[in-house]
């Protein structure tokens, strides 16, 4: 029970601190708000300030529990004293009682499910993977860990900053409860919006639809960030609507902060700022206030920059890419390959199992298999929302919904539709009252249809949703390790991992692991350039298609030059790869000399892989093959050469030419005629892989039975020079001998 108390305390302290900071902020901005919305917006705005404060603490490695407690308590006391001296804002006008009660009953029922799920040990894939994995890592180091590289650690982590405060007191579940607080804030804010702007019924209706949505329930009860970003986007819209009426300049500061925080929480939240710009500019046309609008834009942008720039600058200075882990082709860096980014993004966009267009709406609303979650069957009625276009607010809601649905085009997960739901639900609420009595029936039916036990009868078994109410686990009557072992396969290897593997050792895995519970450092195949290299080693040793099977021999008349390069002159969607590049004179290979300097374009950081005399490693462009790519050697002094060889996997689409540097420092092409012959691939590639991994600090492998090299590793462990330390539930922990 003590553990449950610490979890609740951790979450309550974080939410309380956020509300205190938000209350101080709203007071300073002197905004005119109703009492109910002021409370909600205090939490949302204060979360932004708290997140920013924690960011700076992480920057100076002072993310410590005592610092959090001291700062948080100070903020709470300050806000409490201030609240005592201020007049209470007025409340909303009364709403229809029947709707008030219905809202409380339905939301209350689902609150019960969500609360116990959030309180139970965190087992969601991303929550127990990278969201809380990042938090654990930061917590252990009291700040950002600059030596750790994973694409997930490059994402903006505004929400993780809040998780960190809760985690410092109540560990994983406390963090989930912070997200749960956003999950609760969103419907309350939707209801408040309806009440403020004169359509309380539509507001309550929409709030119910959003809150009972299965994907909202699942994501919100996990240590994710989707509900936070949805709440922020809706809050930005809400405040813009208020601003539209009262034109309070200070409101723009608040809007800017929230728009910026939306980016800090999740990159998809970056849409908030252009949305605000668009809204201000559109209004300018109506009002004809040219100068005023530019000032307004400047205020909003400056406020947003306060929240956005810390994350942009962190990535720019740390990684050389302000938008990491995206836009790597624009901002080349040694930490994440553009080609891997493309593969990753293509994968996110891919809908598995949808063959016809009409299957999409069914999957997204009621089946949930292909879309990893469902938004609820009522959203099949979304086309009826067009009836809301009759109203000005309806048009605004639909436009906002469409704008905030843009990320869903790039990611097939139902979670990415959550930001759109408040707007479409409100539009539906505005559209349907023409049919008397239909709203309460629909809201009740939707709530029943989304109740976990009912849902399980018609959705796909693979649908990502809450399936039960784990009261015993939430109250820790079921011990946490037992629950985690049941729900997280990785957890079964935790004891072995932490027994056999030294704390500073690295473990390679093809897939993301539940790093929030495994207190070791993983190098994951797709998460970093280093992971790509490790994965590529296995691909080379295991798959003949990846092995350097041919020698591409380019011969020319003897020439004396200081530098030579092989330039790609073909285009293809595949990457250009070379295991070794060798230079010859009179039939003898030029010995590689310490005075040589090697370079490549792109991916020069890995050029040494083409000159290390190892067929296990290879240089790759990690971008689609394109003319102008090259591998180059500067000999340091003039050398006579007459032949260049590339040892590479079969790539008939590749065509290269040899160029040498002349006395006027110009590259002169010599030949593009290549003689291609089979290459005698030496034996021992498997052992070479082990050697290369160890040389790079990887001492262990975490292998799942489904991994492409798992069978080979098991059957030929002695060839790989590995030992299986522990196996459980289709997973193996190997040590590299």
């Amino acid at each position: 029970m003590l553990q449950v108390l610490s979890i609740l305390l951790g979450a309550a302290f974080t939410v309380g601190t956020a509300m205190a900071l938000g209350s101080l902020l709203l007071n300073r901005l002197r905004l005119t708000l109703y009492r109910q919305e002021a409370i909600l917006l205090s939490f949302v705005g204060g979360s932004a300030l708290l997140s920013l404060a924690i960011f700076f603490l992480c920057l100076v490695n002072q993310a410590r529990r005592n610092v959090f407690l001291l700062g948080g308590l100070a903020a709470i006391v300050w806000a409490w004293r201030q609240a005592r001296s201020e007049a209470r804002p007025k409340a909303f006008p009364d709403a229809p009682k029947i709707w008030h009660v219905s809202f409380l009953v339905l939301v209350g029922a689902f609150f019960f499910i969500y609360f116990f799920n959030a309180l139970a040990p965190e087992t969601s894939p991303d929550g127990s993977g990278y969201h809380l994995g990042n938090v654990l890592r930061i917590w252990q180091h009291h700040g950002f860990v600059w030596t750790y590289h994973s694409m997930y650690s490059y994402l903006s982590q505004g929400m993780e900053m809040l998780f960190l405060v809760a985690f410092s007191i109540g560990r994983h579940s406390a963090a989930s409860l912070v997200h749960f607080a956003f999950q609760l804030t969103l419907p309350l804010l939707i209801a408040a919006y309806g009440r403020r702007f004169g359509f309380p019924v539509a507001g309550f209706f929409a709030a119910i639809l959003v809150y009972v949505s299965p994907v909202v329930g699942k994501a919100g009860a996990s240590a994710y960030n989707d509900l936070a970003v949805a709440t922020l986007l809706f809050a930005v819209f809400y405040l813009l609507e208020i601003w539209d009426e009262n034109q309070e300049v200070n409101l723009l500061i608040f809007i800017g902060l929230l728009a910026g925080f939306a980016y800090a929480v999740k990159y998809t939240g970056a849409l908030a700022l252009p949305f605000v710009w668009g809204r201000l500019l559109l209004r300018r046309r109506d009002a004809g206030q040219h100068i005023g609008t530019w000032r307004q834009l400047a205020i909003v942008t400056a406020a947003a920059a306060v929240m956005i720039l810390p994350w942009v600058l962190r990535n720019w200075i740390w990684l050389g890419n302000p938008a990491a882990p995206f836009f790597n082709a624009w901002f080349p860096n040694p930490y994440y390959h553009p080609g891997m980014e493309r593969i990753y993004l293509d994968d996110l966009r891919h809908y598995v199992g949808i063959r016809h267009w009409w299957q999409g709406p069914w999957q997204i609303t009621a089946a949930g298999r292909s879309t990893q979650g469902m938004i609820g069957p009522i959203f099949l009625l979304v086309p009826m929302a067009v009836l809301a276009l009759r109203h000005l607010r309806g048009r605004r809601l639909i436009l906002a919904g469409l704008v905030f649905a843009i990320p869903a085009y790039f990611n097939s997960g139902a979670r990415f539709l959550i930001p759109m739901l408040p707007f479409l639900s409100l539009a539906l609420g505005l559209a349907l009252p023409a049919f008397r009595g239909v709203l309460p029936i629909l809201a009740l039916c939707e709530a029943l249809a989304c109740w976990p036990q009912v849902l399980s009868h018609y959705c796909d078994p693979a649908n990502w949703h809450l399936g039960s109410i784990p009261v015993a686990a939430a109250l820790r009557l079921t011990p946490e390790p037992v629950y985690l072992k049941d729900h997280l396969p990785d957890y079964t290897l935790k004891a072995a991992l932490e027994t056999f593997v030294a704390p500073q050792a690295k473990i390679f895995s093809l897939n993301t692991r539940t790093e929030a519970y495994l207190n070791r450092t993983f190098v994951v195949g797709y998460e970093s350039a280093f992971g790509n290299l490790a994965q590529d080693l296995f691909a080379v040793a295991y798959d003949p298609q990846n092995q350097p099977a041919v020698r591409r021999r380019l011969r020319f008349l003897p020439v004396i030059t200081r530098a030579v390069r092989v330039v790609q002159i073909a285009s293809a969607s595949s990457f250009w790869r070379a295991a070794e590049m060798r230079v010859y004179a009179r039939g003898k290979e030029l010995a590689r000399s310490p005075e040589w300097r090697l370079s490549a374009w792109p991916n020069s950081w890995e050029v040494q892989l083409a000159f290390d005399n190892s067929y296990a490693t290879r240089w790759s462009s990690w971008q689609a093959m394109a003319p102008g790519m090259f591998l180059a050697i500067d000999f340091g002094r003039p050398r006579e050469i007459d032949e260049v060889n590339l040892e590479e996997p079969r790539a008939p689409e590749s065509k290269v030419q040899v160029e040498v540097l002349d006395s006027r420092a110009r590259w002169v092409p010599l030949t593009d005629t290549a003689e291609i012959s089979p290459l005698d691939i030496p034996q021992g590639l498997r052992r070479a892989v082990t050697r290369e991994l160890k040389a790079r600090g990887i001492g262990y492998l975490w292998v799942e039975d489904a991994d492409f090299f798992a069978d080979d590793l098991r059957k030929n462990a002695s060839y790989w020079s590995v030992t299986d330390l522990k196996a459980a539930r289709g997973m193996h922990l190997y040590i590299l001998n």
Binding site: F331, A600, N613, A616, P682, N716
Partner: protein, 171 residues
């Protein structure tokens, strides 16, 4: 302001520059054995035959393949001692009528191991002991063939030496 913006854009758009790198530590190319892979003998009907062909042997699958001007095969042989080189080849009637008797010389890594004199059209079996030390265990051994007379296509100049059925090392 414009200049500052342009400078910022330039700095940002460049990303991180890698520069140049020295030659890394050189690895060892041969680190022992791998399971599977190439064997010491191959039938031309085997789907894996292409892996053994270095050059100038037809790629069309079948029980035999045409050897062209400079045919070359490669094998990986584990035991290095007590080996015989064996092969089956044929000189078809249609080429024999043009070339007459043909002598096919076969070399191991450039060293002449033997030759077979084909004085009539038909199939020939070759078996020749490999002297000790000619083959390194678990290394590639290249076998080249040279026919002293070849049939030259009057249409495209293609040169056909003989038909190869199988080749390799046996104990």
């Amino acid at each position: 302001m414009l200049r500052l913006s342009l400078s910022l854009l330039l700095v940002v758009s460049c990303g991180r520059h890698a520069g140049t790198f020295p030659v890394p530590e050189q690895g060892a190319l041969d680190l022992g054995a791998d399971p599977g892979g190439m064997a010491s003998f191959i039938q031309m009907a085997d789907p894996a035959a292409d892996d053994y062909i270095v050059r100038d042997i037809g790629r069309e699958p079948g029980v035999y393949r045409w050897a062209f001007r400079y045919p070359e095969l490669r094998f990986r042989v584990l035991p290095a001692e007590g080996l015989d080189f064996a092969m089956e080849l044929a000189v078809p009637d249609i080429t024999f009528q043009v070339t007459g008797p043909v002598t096919v010389t076969y070399k191991l890594d450039g060293k002449v191991l033997g030759s077979v004199h084909c004085d009539h059209a038909g199939k020939y079996q070759v078996r020749k002991h490999v002297p000790a030390g000619w083959i390194q265990p678990n290394q590639y051994t290249h076998v080249t063939f040279e026919a002293d007379r070849r049939w030259v296509s009057p249409e495209d100049g293609a040169q056909l030496s003989f038909l190869l059925f199988n080749a390799g090392f046996t104990q």
